[in-house]
C-alpha cells in the first residue's frame, strides 16, 4: 500500500562517475539541441543557418514558452492545468474583440484579458480544492467550456486588425535583431526560476507537490498554495494570449489547440534537464526551442506539416519516459 522506504545499501555517493552522469543529464538536452542545429545547418546551410531564421525561431515561439512556463507551476504542485491553452485563445480573442469590434483602447483590452485569466484560474483552483476533484478533470472541463465560449464570442471567425501598438511592442520592435517578445519570455523564466528556487513560497509549492500530507502536517495551507498555482498558470495563459494577439495582429479561435500538447511535451522534456527531476523554467525554455528547431528543420528538409504532430506527440512520450527514468521510476501520482 505504502511505497517502501528505499533503504539503499550504499548511501555514500560515488563522486567520480556520478558527477559525469549528473552533468550529462543536466546539459544533455542543450548539447542535443546544438547538434540538431548543426545537422540541419549542414544539410540546409543557406536557409536554416541564417540569422533571419534563427531570430524567427526565437521570436515566434515566445507564446509557447509562456504557456509552458505557466504549466510548470501547477505541475510542481502536482496539479495539471489543461485549460491553459484555451485561456490563451480566450485571452487573445478578448483583446481582439474588445479592441477591434468595440474600439476599446488596447491597454484596457489587455487588462480585461489578464483579469479574465486570473478569474478562470481562481475558479479552477476553487473547484479542485473545495470539491476535491482531480485537476485533470476540472481543467479539462473548464478548458473545453472556455473553448466553446471563445468560438461563440468570435462567431468562429478569426478577428484581425489588432492595434499596431501591441504588435510593435511584441514582434515588430527588435533588439539585436530578435523580437522583443523573446526577451519578455526570458524575463518570465527568470522570475519563475527565482520564485521556485529562492522563495519560501516556491519551496512550499514543491513540498505540496511531492508530499502533500507532509506539507499539510508541517503547517502549510496546501489548498491555498494549489489555488495560487492555478491562478498563476491561468494568468500566464492570458499573458500568452496577449502575446499571440501581438504576434499575429489577430486572434484565431482555435489556435490554443495546437499549443496544448507542445507545452506539455516541453514541460516534461524540460524536467529532464538543467535541474533533472524537477519542472524548471530554464529546462522548459530550452525544451521549447529544441522541439521547435527540430520541427523547423524537418520542414526545411521538405516534410510537410504532419511532421509537427508526429514530432510533438513522440516528444511528449519520450520526455515523460525520460523524466520517469530521472525520477527513479516512481509511480506518477496523477
Amino acid at each position: 500500500m505504502l511505497p517502501d522506504i528505499a533503504v539503499t545499501a550504499s548511501t555514500g555517493p560515488a563522486r567520480g562517475p556520478s558527477l559525469l552522469i549528473k552533468r550529462t543529464e543536466q546539459f544533455g538536452l542543450i548539447v542535443v539541441w546544438l547538434l540538431l542545429v548543426a545537422v540541419f545547418g549542414a544539410l540546409r546551410p543557406d536557409t536554416f543557418l541564417t540569422w533571419a531564421n534563427l531570430s524567427t525561431i526565437l521570436g515566434s515561439q515566445a507564446v509557447l514558452v509562456v504557456v509552458t512556463l505557466g504549466l510548470i507551476i501547477p505541475l510542481t504542485a502536482n496539479d495539471f492545468d489543461l485549460s491553459i491553452a484555451f485561456v490563451m485563445t480566450l485571452s487573445s480573442m478578448t483583446v481582439a474583440v474588445l479592441n477591434v469590434n468595440y474600439g476599446v483602447g488596447i491597454g484596457w483590452a489587455i487588462a480585461a484579458a489578464l483579469v479574465l485569466g486570473l478569474v478562470i484560474g481562481l475558479i479552477n483552483g476553487l473547484l479542485i480544492t473545495t470539491f476535491r476533484i482531480h485537476s485533470l478533470i476540472v481543467t479539462l472541463g473548464t478548458g473545453t467550456f472556455i473553448h466553446g465560449f471563445t468560438l461563440w464570442m468570435s462567431d468562429s471567425m478569426t478577428i484581425s486588425g489588432v492595434s499596431p501598438i501591441l504588435m510593435n511592442g511584441v514582434i515588430v520592435d527588435r533588439l539585436f535583431g530578435i523580437p522583443l517578445e523573446f526577451y519578455y519570455t526570458i524575463g518570465l523564466a527568470a522570475l519563475i526560476f527565482y520564485l521556485l528556487d529562492y522563495t519560501a513560497l516556491g519551496r512550499r509549492i514543491l513540498f505540496v507537490g511531492r508530499g502533500r500530507e507532509v506539507a499539510r502536517l508541517s503547517g502549510i495551507n496546501t489548498n491555498r498554495i494549489r489555488i495560487s498555482c492555478l491562478v498563476v498558470s491561468s494568468f500566464f495563459g492570458a499573458l500568452a494570449g496577449v502575446l499571440y494577439a501581438g504576434t499575429q495582429g489577430a486572434a484565431d479561435p482555435v489556435s490554443g489547440v495546437s499549443y496544448q500538447l507542445p507545452a506539455f511535451a516541453a514541460a516534461f522534456l524540460g524536467s529532464t534537464s538543467i535541474v533533472p527531476g524537477r519542472f524548471n523554467p530554464w529546462g522548459s525554455t530550452v525544451a521549447v526551442y529544441f522541439l521547435v528547431t527540430g520541427i523547423t528543420g524537418l520542414v526545411f528538409l521538405g516534410f510537410s506539416s504532419f511532421i509537427q504532430e508526429m514530432f510533438y506527440g513522440g516528444a511528449l512520450v519520450v520526455a515523460v519516459t525520460l523524466s520517469q527514468l530521472v525520477r527513479g521510476r516512481q509511480e506518477q501520482q496523477f
Binding site: L2, P3, D4, I5, A6, V7, T8, T11, G12, P13, D197, Y198, T199, A200, L201, R203, R204, L206, F207, R210, G211, E213, V214, A215, R216, L217, S218, G219, I220, N221, G277, R327, G328, Q330
Partner: protein
Amino acid sequence: MDAPAPLALRLSNLSKTFGGQKALDQVALDVAQGEVHGLLGQNGSGKSTLIKVLAGFHPPDAGSLLQVCGVDVPLPLAAGAFRLHRMSFVHQHLGLIPGLTALENLLINRLARRHAWAINWRAEHRKAIRQFESYGVPIDPGALVSDLPPVERALLAIVRAAGELSAGDGAGNGLLILDEPTPFLPKRDVEQLFRLVRSIVATGASAIFVSHDVDEVMEITDRATILRDGRVAAKLDSKTATKRDFVQAIVGRQLLATTPPRLAEAQAPSHIVIQGLCGGSIVDLSLAAGRSEVIGLTGLIGSGYDEVCYLLYGAKRATQGQLAIGKRHVALPAISPKLAIEQGIVLIPGDRATAGVIDVLPVSDNVTMPVLGSRFRPWMLDRRAMVRRAGSLGETFEVRPANPTLPMSALSGGNQQKVVLAKWFQQKPVMILLDEPTQGVDIGARQNVFSHIAKAALEGATVLCASSDYEQLAAICSRVLIFSGGRVVASLAGAEISKDAIAERCLFSAAPVTAEGNMADVA
C-alpha cells in the same frame, strides 16, 4: 490417540527462523472439527508468523509437520495453496473493494481466477441473497461496500470466506482463519459477528480466531492456544479457564494481586490541560500534564489511543474539547496543523513514508520545511545557509550519512526518523506528540531517538507518546494511560510501569462492558 474424527488441523514441531532469531519454536496447534480455536499472544509472540506459514507466505523450517483432516500435507505450502486444503482467511483489513457492490466483492476471487463469459447477474444475485439468508446476515447484495456499516463489511468478508471453504476439494469440512477481524468494530456489533461464526462452525467447519482481546476469545472459542516468544505458553479450555489464566499465560508472569491504585492527580503543576476531547473513537478525554512529563498512550488495537495525537494537532478533526497551554486556550475543533505549530505543538506521525518525510527531496529541504519563513529570508532564500543549518542539526541528531544534500530515500528508517525529530525539535516545542516514534527504526537508532525525546522533555516540553510497544513506553514514560473503547480505563505511574504491567492492564481493560465491571473482575 485414536480420535473418531481426525483433527481439522494439526501443526506440530513448527519452527521458523528469521536471521538466527526463532520466531516460532516447535509450536504445536490442534484444531478439532467443529471447533472455534483461539490463538492469542502479544505482538511479536509469533501469531502472525504462524498464520503466514499457513497462508504459504513464509516457508517454515525443516521438520515442521502439517496434517489437514488426518492427511499429511507437505510443507512449505505454495502461496495460495491453502485453498486446495479448504482453508480460507479473513484478515483484519478484510480484503474488500469499497467501490464495488457486496455481490461483486463476493465473486472477486472466483472472477479473478476463472474466466467467465456472460455472467448471469440475476442468478448470482439470487444466490447471494440465499447465501446471506442461510447465515442470517442482512446484507443487500446490490449495496456498495463503502455504504455498508463496518460490521456488515466484516460479515460479508466472513461469508465470502465461508463460501470458499466449500469450493476447495481437500478433505474435511474446511477451516476458517479469522485474523483479528474485530478490533475496529463497536463492541455491540461483535456479538453479531460471533453468531455468524457459530453458524458456520455448526456446519462442521472449524475456525481459528486470532485476537488480542481475552474477553472475546473466552466468549467465542472452545479452546485456545497461547503463544509467547515463539513458543506455546499454554493451551487453555476457554470454558473453564479464567481471564486471569489467559492474561498470565500471555504476559508470562504471576499477576499483581490487586489493581494498582489510581494515580494521584497532578503532582506536578499542570502546564497543559486537555478537557473533554471527543473525536474519532475518542470519548471525553481529559488530561493534565506538567512540563517535562512524558506520558504514554496505549491500549489494544482499535481502542483509540493512536488517534489522540492527531486530534490534538488538528490533523484529524476533533468534535469537542479544549486545550490550555499555560494561559492560552484553544478550542480543539478549531485547531489546524498551522495553528498547532504556532502554539508550539509538534507532531511526529507514525506513517513516516506518507506523512513524515518527502523521500524524493533532500534532507535539507525536509529539515527546514517548518522554519523557512521564520529562520530564513522568505523572499531571498539562502540555500547554502539552509544546507549548513541542516548539516549542523544533522550533527546534533547524529544523522548518518552526514550529507544533507542526499535525498531522504538514501537514509535508513532510523536516520529518517532522526531527521524528522530534528525538523520539529529545532523550534523548542512546548508539546510533542509522538505516534509510534520508533516504528521501522533499527535498534541502534532507537536509543538515539529515546535520548532526543528525553532531552526535549528535560528542556521543558510535555511529551505524549502513543505506542503499542510496551517496552518502549516503559523505557521513556513517567505515566502511561491505557485506553479501551475510546476512554482511559487505567493509568500507571512511576515504579508501577513495566512492560508486563502495561500488557496486563491492556489485556484486562479491554472489556466488552464498562471499565468498572471489568476492574471488579480483577480484584
